[in-house]
Symmetry: C2
Subunit: 139 residues, 2 copies
């Protein structure tokens, strides 16, 4: 709680109740939730929250570099509490996005073929370990 307020202050974001709660949800949900998932979790504790507030807050967080947005699924943005670059796996069975440790030599380059690089995203699509174990392999 104090730690969350601290993180908000570091990025010069006013720590309102809504913002603290949204950041807390991001911290506790490592499978990169979308706006709707965040909104529904939020409703349990803040029944008056507005969907617009969730959108506004997440946009602010991304602009200030507090969290990152992933464009992996075509339908919607997914949000990531972690901003240091890392790769992801999108499971086509359960829909979760899972962090993957990959040390890619190109992830640190600032220039490739004359183009200026500011951000790197790497992702895999497939079936996650848990779904494989459950035999959850065809829909």
């Amino acid at each position: 709680m104090e730690r969350l307020i601290e993180r908000l202050n570091e990025k010069h974001i006013q720590p309102s109740h809504q913002r603290i709660k949204i950041l807390e949800i991001l911290e506790n949900n490592c499978d990169h939730p979308n706006v709707n998932t965040i909104y529904e979790l939020l409703c349990k504790e803040m029944p008056t929250i507005s969907r617009t507030t969730v959108y506004n807050t997440l946009n602010t967080f991304v602009e200030k570099g507090l969290v990152s947005a992933l464009t992996i699924t075509p339908e919607e943005l997914r949000y990531d509490y972690v901003t240091i670059p890392h790769h992801h796996l999108l499971c086509r069975m359960c829909g979760r996005i899972i962090n993957v440790e990959v040390q890619c030599s190109f992830a640190v380059k600032k220039e490739i073929e004359g183009h200026k690089i500011e951000d790197v995203q790497g992702y895999f699509k497939g079936i996650c370990k848990e779904c494989l174990i459950k035999g959850n392999t065809e829909k």
Copy 2:
């Protein structure tokens, strides 16, 4: 033209006029156009084409593995005539998506940390070479 029909036949897609034209546009536009760009180019030669046909056709192409769809921009899908895996650069100034040669050792793996890998996408965000030369570096 014959080559395009050949490619459609290989994938068991009936080579209708619309499909041939759409495939031709994809072949001639290497910056990974979206549906609207394809539609507007198409209108010049086929004024009666329907936007729905563009969507249907591209969905068919992707399902049959003739072209690939890129989820790099959050707004829309971008389409790629090339299906063999390669990396991309999204230019935040001109919006083009440019192919980048990167030999990533992870792009060929079939399994990572217990997860089954079926597809790999890697992309960079930044400013393309042409925009840098033009000094087109701040919007």
